[in-house]
Symmetry: C2
Subunit: 278 residues, 2 copies
C-alpha cells in the first residue's frame, strides 16, 4: 500500500484508531474489513422502534454462521416487552441501556432441544452431560451472535453484549421461560444509537501481544502491555473515565471471587439449570 | 419487499438456500447481509500461498470484535509450518484440510496473560480460577474468530472451524508452546477454495425452532424439526452423504461419552492445563 493511495490512507486511519501507538503498518482492505474495524460498542440508545423484519434478518445472519457438527445447540429469545427489559437491566447490575433500547436478544446455550430429540427417540443422552457440550453451545452461540452484530451494524444499528446476565443465570432463565438444560450465555442489546452520546472505538492490545507465530510467547508481552497501558489511559481520559489503564482492569477482575459479581456461582447455577458439566 | 424487486429476489433466493422449505418470507437486505447468508464451510483447499498481509488483517478484524470488559482473554497462534499442520491434522482425527491449506489459526482461551499481569503486580488472581473466566475466554475467542471468518470470506478465502482440536487439548497446547492457563478452544483453517470441490450452503433449522419471542417454547419445536429432517436428508443426498437426517446426528452425539472422541476429558484436560474451573 502506498501512502498516497486513498484506500491505504483509510486503512492507516482505521488501524490508528484501533491500535493507537502500536498500529500494524499494513493490512488488506475492502468495505467489509473497514466496517469490521470500525466497530464500536453502543450504550446510548434512542427508543425509536425497529423494523418488524429486523429480528428475522438478524437470526438468518446468526444461523448462517458455522455451528459445530451442525448440531445447532443454541437458541435466541427476543425480548421487546418493556417490563422484562427493565427486569433484565436490574439483573445485569443496573445497565440502563437494556431498558432504553427496544430489543435485547438472549443467546441461549441450548441442550434442551437435543435432549428433546433424544427423548422422543427414547435414546441415551449421556454425551450431553459433559463440559464439552456446554462449551460447544456457548461457542456456537457466540459465533451466531457475532454475525447478528455485523448484520445490525450494516443496517446502521448499534449493539452491546451483556455478559452480566450471568450474574443471575437462574432468574434470567426463569424470565425467558427456559426449560431445563438451557441457559442464557449473554444478551445482545440492539437499537438506534443516540447521536448525543456517540460511541468511541476502543483501542486494543498490540498485535505483538495477541498474535503469535508458530509458538506462543508470554515473556515478550510485558513491554508491549505497558505501552498499551498508556494508550488505554489516554482513551479513558478522553472518555471522562478514571484513567486507570488496562493492567488495573485485569487486576480488579482477578482480585477475588467477589469481583465476579456473582459469576463465581456460574458452575452451581448451570448445574441447577440441568447442565452436567462432567 | 415486492417480489419483482431484484433485491427481494436475491433475498428470497438466499433464504431458500439457507432454509429450504421453511424460509422466512422477508428480511432486510444489503451486501453485508447477502455475504453473511452466503457463508459456506470450505473443506477443499488449494495449497496456493496467502498474502503476507493476511494474518495481520484477520487479527485486526478479530480484535475489533467486542470483548468482555475489554479483558481480551484470548490469543491466536498462527501455524503455517507444514509439519505442525500435519500433526494438527492427525490430532483432529485425520482432517486432511488442515494439512492441505497453508494456514491454521489456533484460537486460545488465554488466562496466562491476565495472570502475568497479576504476578507482575504481586496481586491476587483468584478471580480467574472460576468456570466464568474460561467461559468469558472461550466466548471472546469465538466472537473474535467469527470476525476473522467474515474478513477472510470478504477477501475470497474459505474457512473451516476445527473443534476436534479439543480431542487432544494437552498435545495441541504443547505443539503451540502454550504456557499454563492457556488452551486452544478451536482452530480456524484459512485458504483458497478448491473450485473442483465446491462447498455447499448447509440448510439450518427453521427460525420457528431457534427464535423465540418473549418466552422460550420447547413443545412446539418437534413438528418443525421433523420438517427440517427431510430437508437435511435431501441435502445429505445431494452431497453424496448417507441421508440420515438431522435427528440422527443429534442422537449420535448424545449416545455416549465415547461419541465425544475424547472430549469427555475436556474438564480434566483444562485442569491439567491450569484452569481452575471452580
Amino acid at each position: 500500500m502506498a501512502l498516497e493511495d486513498p484506500v491505504s490512507l483509510a486503512a492507516h486511519a482505521a488501524l490508528a484508531r484501533r491500535y493507537r501507538s502500536a498500529a500494524p503498518e499494513r493490512i488488506l482492505w475492502n468495505d467489509t474489513i473497514a466496517a469490521l474495524l470500525d466497530h464500536r460498542t453502543v450504550r446510548g440508545f434512542r427508543p425509536d422502534p425497529l423494523s418488524p423484519d429486523l429480528v428475522p434478518t438478524l437470526v438468518a445472519a446468526a444461523q448462517s454462521a458455522a455451528t459445530s457438527s451442525n448440531l445447532q445447540l443454541w437458541s435466541v429469545v427476543a425480548i421487546e416487552d418493556e417490563e422484562k427489559r427493565k427486569e433484565l437491566a436490574r439483573l445485569a447490575g443496573g445497565q440502563k441501556h437494556i431498558e432504553h433500547a427496544p430489543l435485547i436478544l438472549l443467546f441461549v446455550a441450548d441442550l434442551a432441544r437435543a435432549e428433546l430429540v433424544a427423548d422422543e427417540a427414547r435414546a441415551p443422552k449421556e454425551g450431553f452431560e459433559y463440559l464439552e457440550s456446554f462449551t460447544v453451545a456457548a461457542v456456537d452461540a457466540a459465533l451466531a451472535a457475532q454475525n447478528a452484530v455485523i448484520a445490525a451494524q450494516s443496517l446502521g444499528l448499534g449493539t452491546v453484549y451483556i455478559g452480566a446476565l450471568r450474574n443471575h443465570p437462574e432468574e434470567v432463565a426463569k424470565l425467558a421461560g427456559l426449560p431445563p438444560r438451557a441457559a442464557v450465555v449473554f444478551g445482545l442489546v440492539v437499537g438506534w444509537s443516540d447521536a448525543t452520546r456517540p460511541a468511541a472505538i476502543k483501542p486494543r492490545l498490540p498485535q505483538s501481544v495477541v498474535l503469535h507465530r508458530e509458538v506462543y510467547d508470554l515473556a515478550g508481552q510485558s513491554a508491549a502491555i505497558s505501552e498499551y497501558d498508556r494508550d488505554a489511559r489516554a482513551f479513558q481520559e478522553e472518555q471522562g473515565q478514571d484513567p486507570v489503564g488496562w493492567r488495573a482492569l485485569v487486576l480488579a477482575r482477578g482480585a477475588s471471587a467477589a469481583a465476579l459479581n456473582g459469576r463465581d456461582r456460574l458452575k452451581a447455577a448451570l448445574r441447577a439449570l440441568g447442565f452436567g458439566l462432567k
